[in-house]
């Protein structure tokens, strides 16, 4: 699971108002080669809350990017390469995504996050089971 994906997910547990972005708990991460696309990165940059992403980078052990970033930095190829690496090439294989408000762990296994909510985390009517036995 790339950090970009992590950034696009949110916790929808009932009552949570601030379920985005999810924090990372890293047990195993890998690096995967992805083609560099400067235009894509430049388009993504304004949509990203940099501070949240930096926390995610650091969780993955990547410290090459600054705590703050401004759009003029996108002119630097070096910056773009590091941004590319962190956003797209760092993959969380095993670990969890953490709801920022409740601390609830959404497990990540083999790179796939499991975002299913438990029954008590969902706003819904009470379901009754009518047994036919």
């Amino acid at each position: 699971m790339r950090l970009l994906t992590d950034y696009m997910l949110s916790s929808n547990i009932k009552g949570v108002t601030n379920g985005f972005p999810l924090r990372l708990e890293v047990e195993k991460s890998v690096e995967k080669e992805v083609d560099f696309n400067a235009d894509f990165l430049k388009n993504m940059f304004p949509k990203i809350e940099w501070k949240a992403l930096v926390d995610a980078f650091r969780s993955m052990g990547y410290t090459e990017l600054p705590n703050e970033a401004e759009s003029p930095m996108l002119d630097s190829k070096e910056f773009l390469k590091k941004f590319h690496h962190a956003l797209l090439q760092l993959h969380l294989e095993e670990g969890a995504l953490i709801c920022p408000e409740t601390g609830r762990r959404f497990p990540v296994s083999k790179g796939i996050p499991n975002m299913l909510l438990h029954e008590d985390e969902v706003f819904d009517e009470v379901y009754q089971i009518e047994s036919q036995f």
Partner: protein, 343 residues
């Protein structure tokens, strides 16, 4: 096998439910029958059959069904787990089916008026009920877009991701195990919200459609292709008893908790103030599909593969003639419903 007859639960949120009537089932246990009609009603408790159990029981059933059966499907039919779109009255050969499945995607995009223009095309999309990611990968490749896919089946999500990686799309598509009724995305995330034959699994159509609308960005298009039952006539309260009986049997085999009509979906979309709502009945264009699937199950490969899977898959295979019966009786409709979220 103790196959429990049940009434598929009403698919609507309490505010849209009508009064219920109770009736005695064959073995004398009380079960509640619902009439499926839109309109504002009082808050009620939903009754779910014992086999489906709670919503988490349904989720588990769906996940296990697809964990078990996706491999054999992919083996025989490839990575698209939906109906093909065929020219009516044309005999389709085995090799036509794959291109028919691709055509289904293209026809749906065309019906919804999705532009291929570089500036207007969708840049981010969600595939709700993504299977092993056939649509996700196709759309991501077609539009050069980022795609998120969600499925209840961990096996499907793994397979979808592996296929994406092998096709050089790992940087464009990602898959999660998640619930379409509680999509794990912030509001307004996607330019295109895609649901290809997953709506049938949703126990609560109101919540399902609300989530589709919630994650759609302003101006985004929602494309919903799903199995519905026929529209009710103005004088009808509900489907006829024999129609309900047939649908119940199909519900059981495919973990479909509820059916509604195309008109019901249109009313739901209208209630959410979505625009440009269009709907069509594509049943005639998918007619060759179920006979073809049945034929594939009866080949040596299909037959032996089925027995290597499990009971859920076999039960699904045995229910295929019921689907044909439903279509032939004009009870089951293959529906496409599209709309746009206001800017």
């Amino acid at each position: 096998m103790n196959s429990l007859l049940r009434t598929c639960q009403t698919p609507f949120r309490p505010a849209q439910r009508e009064a219920c009537t109770s009736e005695r089932s064959l073995n004398g246990t009380r079960r509640i029958g619902w009439s499926i009609r839109s309109g504002v009603g009082r808050w009620r408790r939903l009754m779910v059959s014992a086999t489906m159990g709670t919503e988490s029981g349904l989720q588990k059933g769906i996940a296990e069904f697809y964990d078990e059966s996706s491999g054999i499907w992919e083996d025989i039919w490839g990575d698209h787990m939906h109906h093909g779109f065929y020219d009516p009255n044309l005999l389709a050969s085995v090799s036509d089916h794959r291109s028919a499945q691709i055509r289904m995607i293209e026809e749906a995009l065309s019906f919804a008026g999705i532009s291929e223009d570089l500036l207007k095309r969708p840049k981010s999309l969600v595939d709700v009920g993504c299977g092993i990611g056939g649509s996700s990968r196709y759309l991501a490749r077609k539009f050069g877009a980022q795609c998120q896919g969600i499925t209840l089946s961990p096996i499907q999500a793994q397979r979808a991701q592996a296929l994406a990686a092998s096709q050089g799309l790992a940087d464009s598509v990602s898959f999660q195990v998640a619930d379409a009724l509680e999509q794990p995305f912030p509001d307004g995330q996607f330019d295109l919200v895609w649901s290809m034959e997953s709506g049938e699994h949703m126990p609560d159509k109101t919540k399902f459609v609300s989530e589709l609308a919630r994650v759609a960005a302003p101006g985004a298009t929602i494309i919903l292709v799903t199995w519905c039952h026929r529209d009710l006539s103005p004088s009808e309260e509900s489907l006829k008893p024999d129609e309900k009986k047939l649908l119940n049997k199909i519900c059981d085999a495919y973990y479909l908790p509820a059916w509604c009509s195309t008109a019901d979906y249109v009313k739901l979309l209208q209630s959410l103030s979505l625009q440009d709502i269009k709907a069509a009945d594509w049943s005639e264009y998918v007619a060759p599909f179920w006979p073809a699937v049945i034929r594939s199950a009866l080949t040596w490969k299909g037959f032996t593969s089925l027995f290597r899977t499990g009971w859920k898959t076999i039960k699904g295979a045995l229910a295929m003639p019921l689907m044909m019966e439903g279509y032939n009786k004009n009870l089951i409709k293959f529906a496409i419903i599209t709309c746009r979220k206001p800017e």
